[in-house]
Symmetry: D2
Subunit: 351 residues, 4 copies
């Protein structure tokens, strides 16, 4: 089968022929319909510092945001069936830690990630544990089915405490920041602010429900948000940029007694004014990673099915699998002209 | 001033002239712009069994859902100012009970209710404690400002646990049931079912966001809801009808591990299958009364200001104060052809 | 092997010889050290109305509160090992329902119960799914290890909302009511009241931490509790008796804004004053069944290991397995002179 | 009257004669029985950098942890009465911010602190707003009544999420760290670890319930805690030292999915590894300041009254008011030989 693999500890990846994977008794084999490109994939592709420290196995197939059809089922499986259309939770938990036994399996001690710790889904077939397979509605469009994993990040992060009737500022205009705007809108946030750097993406944010967008290259986000909120700050802030400057601004704009979600990954440690920004303000901070298994999947699936959630404008590019270089280049170039890019292994579904 | 008062222990009320009330040092005087009619007002008007047992003072001015302008401020007041446009929280708490001191002042032990335990707002002026005054945006339309108190019931009840991504069934098509549909829609519930008896109101429910409406005169709600939910039942049920038959149906359709809110008032005790419907199902029940002071007011105010919440179709009638009989008759007649009815003391605002 | 089985649809049970069970690939075989007697076992033994309606298979081995040693492990198992000392969660969940996939597997739609829906643990050996096995500390005394399942009911019910600094009244002096007193004491409840009928058990309640005990045969619990609480009622009430009279008293003594847990099973439906007791009081009710999998097990295990929890006085009888009739008679007789009765299959552990 | 005042922008304070304060209509006058010394008082006394930046008014009376008797009541007051024995919540909220109106008045935007923003309680009399007066049981010992304010910090911080059945590590052996150990013990934490620097205080920690104490001068807390917890880390960590080294250790020992409370005040910003310590671990952080008004007061009052909470060993010194220099010196010296020091204005209560 064709697979896009990291074959060298250097920039890029290679589309190669490898055997179809053999499944274990607790696994299913999925024929991949489409796979979208994650920021993590881009890090591995460009082989940045994080990737150099994190990726242990080369060669390894890339990718983890996908949808496809179950074509083979292991002997110990009893939930999924041949013909099921699935997406997957890419955090593969252990089965014995306190985390796994108390509803936190997404951060289990020995958790492994598809496309990072084992072969991924930028291939014609992938073997995955039945446990992490999520059965989709058969008539969910392929491009929406494919992006459920990153959408799940946005759903978990945005809704970790309720947003109805609340103001929320999202810092970061990457795909998950943009998804978060759409999620906040669907869940009743009543004042939604996106702070970013790319006009193309700020326009997308408006399309999916932002009340205010701020380009931090041209405006001071703190000043602007304080104006918008009458000097009180916002109830909820999501840091999704990984920028230390944005992090500081997040602390400044969250209101006393408000909530801060941390999701964006930083290059280095960050200097934090714990006294004034955490203690005296009395805020609550949630570190967000992955998705709740499987509460988040029920929520995102219901939001998509109901039509309440508008993420259609955020899937900006649909490309054949073989055009993967074009896809990665779109993600790497500046100024950015894309949000989520989907690669199709099954071109008949590319519409 | 003119005031609509209960003057006799019998059906009806009388529009009479009485002196403008004197305020206490902790009170403000409000010139009433408009006052909507609550089901409680209807009970007092028709003098049903509940009203006979509950109303201690006759004569007494009726009404509690209103908006108006502050025209006088007591010596101990320091938050509200002359000229402020206000609505009021009608639950006047004590200031010493554990409830009042721990964020539950809406159910304080010695709590008093405007228009039930003291003179109400179906009058040209009303004196209210500053504590329960809620300052409105000056440009909020009068009819919306007036119905914030009952809307608050719907907001508190519907959102006592988050509804985003959840299915919800509301039993009862009175104004608060209909408000609840709109609130659930604004807050991201993804499958909203209203069960009622009046086709006029079921149509309104559809207009404000119900995915399914069920007329319990013609269809079996349990059967229908089980069909809609694939046999699983709904995540959240709000009982807003006060009907023992509906109560039983609520217990049958709430899913295992789901949530039940109880809001509707019953004529008598209700027979409950505690084993099968509460314990083995592992549900959580919230008794709902009033509004959180003042979390609910912030939420409803933000929902209205943001335009996320569509309740415009639910205010079906706007009448001059003097046409109060027409208003009460609309609420009493069957089949019902109204939802919320607003009486205007200031006719210049009636548009 | 020896097994105590329900062999006829009538009072009693029979100690018979049957083959050691064959395990499935996902199961382990446990050599039972000891098994305590549950109220459910007594219902099945005396063949009351509930048992007649619930038990589908005869003959079937009784019992589900036990501890023992893993002596064989199925091919698909990978967590438990031969030699592990285990107790078990007796609720065997399905693996596909929303409940099972969102942390509510203890109330999964197709959940099965050991000793009710399949052969139980009043036998020398039992086969159980690995999923529900809980590995004990090797030096936990056998009688404590054996009662963890019912202790888990008390832990889940008592601590479903925090009790620290709260007053709590437990209605029902059965073993789980008594365990609840000990749990409330260990978790910082500051005013603990037990209401029961049996002086022997009320004395045990005092030994494990009750501040007040009330024998409802001789005193009016409502009057007494209102006196104790200065007329405010208690913050938290656990109904653990299954008596409609107690249920009514629970509703009367829970304070406005307080919490009510429902655990006791009733013979029939119960008449409830929803208006005054649930809505106007603004209480929250939790239906409690089973134990959280596996949060409750971590909590109870830590409470036992730390020595904070004193339940030693509540295990009143230790009998050899063959004396099962004496055990059941102790549970059936009145006035009651027992709390928890443990039957030992391995007599060397009976100390 | 006598008052201990900051009279110069320099080390120390002066015991001077000033007039008894005049009360406002919403205030009461309290005759002070005793006042304990807070770390904040020590900062003001020694005039450190924080104090230089924070204290706006000189001269000003110091102190805020006290108890006394109400001897005069303002015209607008209606809850407290002459003769009431009170302690006070030292955070005086505004009455209009979202915080104050939604149960977060302890962090209200314009909140003022007794003894910091206005005259304090190291005096024979103090005027305080009735709103922040907490009526004590008449037979509560004076030294316990006096330390309720700092005890409240420990209660709020320790119990912001439940501790029953949880492991908890407290970093910091100041009085509030020690109180936290006692509170965790009373509320059912099952593995309590105190990390500190002073052997005198570590011994006190053992007396009030620590399972393990670690002197960070002699042992590596991270290594030791990982050993104690079998490599998993602790469920809950409270940072109460204000040391950047301790902060880093807190992040290292909190388990994946665990809780971190931040209470200790730092000299400077702190460098934080947001990726590995907050996001990938999926922890929740609570910034803690003050006490919940008045949930925390009910909890601490019940814990004290019930006798469940053992803080007696933590009040190490009782001195006459005039010996204030000795009191401050005890707090300043190293190695520390004190925990909480109480100054008595009413020497008849000093026992």
């Amino acid at each position: 089968m064709k697979a896009l693999r990291k074959t060298k500890a250097a920039f890029g990846a290679e589309l190669v022929e490898i055997p179809v994977p053999q499944i274990q008794p607790h696994e299913v084999l999925v024929k991949v319909h489409a796979c979208s490109i994650c920021g993590t994939d881009v890090s591995i592709y460009e082989w940045n510092k994080w990737a150099q420290g994190r990726i242990k196995t080369i060669p390894q197939t890339m990718g983890h945001e996908f949808t496809g059809e179950v074509v083979q089922v292991g002997a110990h499986c009893n939930r999924l069936k041949i013909g099921d259309i699935v997406s997957v939770e890419t955090h593969i938990p252990d089965n014995y830690s306190k985390q796994s036994l108390t509803g936190q399996m997404h951060i289990a001690k020995e958790m492994k990630i598809v496309g990072v710790d084992r072969d991924g889904s930028m291939a014609e077939f992938i073997a995955i544990p039945e446990l992490v397979g999520w059965k989709n509605d058969v008539n969910m469009p392929t491009h929406l089915a494919s992006v459920q994993e990153p959408l799940g990040n946005a759903v978990y992060c945005t809704l970790v405490t309720p947003v109805h009737g609340q103001s929320i500022a999202v810092f970061g205009d990457g795909p998950i920041g943009l998804f978060s705007v759409a999620v906040a809108r669907a869940a009743g946030a009543t004042n939604i602010i996106l702070v970013g750097l790319e006009d193309f993406r700020l326009q997308l944010a408006k399309q999916v429900g932002a009340d205010h967008v701020i380009n931090a290259r041209h405006e001071n986000p703190v000043q602007k948000i304080m104006d918008i909120t009458g000097g009180d700050g916002v109830d909820i802030v999501s840091e999704m940029s990984g920028s230390p400057i944005a992090m500081e601004q997040c602390f400044e704009v969250v209101r006393r007694g408000g909530f801060l979600r941390m999701f964006g990954i930083f290059k280095d440690k960050v200097n934090v004014d714990i006294n004034d920004h955490i203690i005296f303000k009395g805020i609550t901070i949630h570190g967000i990673n992955g998705r709740l298994m499987f509460d988040t999947w029920f929520t995102l699936s219901n939001l998509l099915k109901s039509g309440r959630l508008n993420i259609e404008p955020l899937i900006t590019h649909k490309l054949p699998f073989e055009s993967y270089e074009q896809g990665f280049n779109l993600m790497l170039e500046t100024p950015k002209k894309c949000s989520k890019v989907v690669l199709y292994m099954d071109k008949s579904r590319m519409k």
